[in-house]
Amino acid sequence: MEISNRKWSDDFFQKEREEVLSQWSTGADVDLDDAVAYHKSLPDSQNAALKTLKAREEGKTLLCPSLGSDTVENHKSLLLHMQNEAGVDILTSYIDSLTRNCRFEMASQGLMKAEATGRPVLNGFPFVVHGVQKTREVMNAVDLPSMLFGPTPDARLTHEIGLAGGHTGYSGGPMISFWNYTKNVPVESVIHNFQYINRLMGTYEEQGVPILYAVSGAMPSVSPPSLMIVPEIIEVLIAAGQGVKHIQLNNWLQGHVAQDLAYIQVLKEKADYYLKECGFDDVETITYSVSPTGRFPVEADQVYALISHFTMIGVMGGVQVCGSRTIDEALHIPTKEGSAHSFRNARMFLNMLQPQKFDISGHSEIQQEKQIMELEVDCLMKKILEIGGGDIVKGTVKAVKLGILDQPYSTSQLVKGEVLGVKDEKGAARYFDMGQLPFSREIKDFHREKIEAREKILGEKVSYDTIIQDMTAISAGSIL
């Protein structure tokens, strides 16, 4: 079957499920009817999709950490600590990176070592090794919804276990997984695996269990937001194609207020627009924001300021869910104490700002950013749909080859890797190199002018060294 955005047939899906469920012993315990019954036994307030929709209605911003630990005991106490001490509204279970790469045997060894020594060994919760019942043991201990977290090219079995285990969402996606988590895996394979996951989510939806799917597009490295938005919209359309009904749009904030706020607006508007364009009328979208993935400062004093800064942008952007890095981000896997400190900080900032309903969405600088971002997104989306003959999946596969879809600092060797971003004189991300992106004169001139303004201040041409400096600027104490 050639890959396309058509919905998988039941046969095709069931055949592949058998294979997937046999990848590790715990697969045998997955029973969809039982899983649906389990979900229905949980209150609505423990469903991520329903809880975020409610927040959208009420104009509220929820807080959501991202962490995970290896043993059931550790992970449970981590989530309970976040619920009770950090006061967050939604939980996440990070998947450890061995499990993400289907190295279940190694994950199992790591888990055994962790259980034996009491010292954490894995960098997340190894869903597959634990299996459905152990996962439910965690979910039964908490009152909040929890989502799986972690992009990766093949999380099919992890999803079977995680969703049957009571999780009601996942953050990740085929594009981000391809760009940032693979070396040699073709994009079509990654999309295929995500179609499986999305079809599984669609199946839960058909059985009356809403599942929240968070698209992520690409990790920024001083990236103009269209580099994230376009792959995110692609992920949205692929998900909708397999019957996903509740989508969270992740915004990867980089710290420039006007650009980040424009990003939040454009992603939401364009995702809704292209969903409609492609005939998906019953998909709900909510928005999420989180601080960037560049290197963090080591000093907690400074990270607190970043947590507040990014919470400010999230609240001003009116997102339904606000994530945050933690004060120990630079140092090690966040501890539960570190996470609680961080989210209490985010909560206080939120509680100061949100009741004010201070709306700056119409600010001229935001609108300017928005306008150019929309041009960029439409230009790329149209081209991709065009070369795909109207099929987003086919278009995507071709676009990656042609460099019409491209990323800086991608881990994949199958990516052109020609595009590069650099900051302008106010700290916004601009295109330093547009590679093969089919941008218009207007877009090119805009970025060129912005970069020239920076060069004027620097007194020299922007170079690769400038880019490196920009990538580590925040950890060194300043946006620029």
Binding site: S97, L122, N123, Y181, K183, I468, T472
Partner: protein
């Protein structure tokens, strides 16, 4: 063009953190090293066969996801067996997943046969200076 040393660089295991080593590679090349970059997702064997092929003076392993210790078990021995006794081994990034004294981390990797272990959070410049100094020394040693 005289190269200061021939290096093989890459990220080991299931780790995807590529930014740091990319930045380092750029700095190293600019500074006159010959760099063979393997990118992410490399096994011990990937490093060894490339190093043997290019007659590497050193292998630089980057690892940030915190599983380094598991992933480099027996690496020194395998290198020796593959005829890379002269090849020095360096490792850097964020090597453990829990908070621990730097000295303890360093010792753990020195015991595994690494020549040196890079402190995390070095800006590219520092790392470079450090490596340069070490490589000059190692060069002297090798030629002496």
């Amino acid at each position: 063009m005289d190269s200061k040393a021939v290096l093989v660089t890459g990220v080991i295991g299931e780790d995807v953190h590529v930014t740091g080593i990319r930045i380092l590679e750029h700095a190293l090349r600019k500074d006159g090293f010959t760099v063979h970059s393997l990118g992410i997702h490399n096994s011990q064997e990937d490093f060894i066969s490339k190093a043997a092929e290019v007659k590497a003076d050193a292998i630089l392993i980057s690892s940030l996801a915190g599983h380094a210790e598991m992933l480099v078990q027996g690496f020194r021995e395998k290198c020796d067996k593959a005829g890379l006794k002269q090849t020095e081994l360096y490792i850097g990034g964020q090597l453990v997943i829990h908070a621990e004294e730097w000295e303890a981390t360093e010792k753990r990797f020195l015991d595994l046969g690494f020549t040196a272990v890079a402190v995390p959070f070095n800006p590219p410049g520092n790392v470079l200076a450090e490596l340069n100094e070490r490589f000059c020394d190692s060069r002297k040693k090798t030629t002496a």
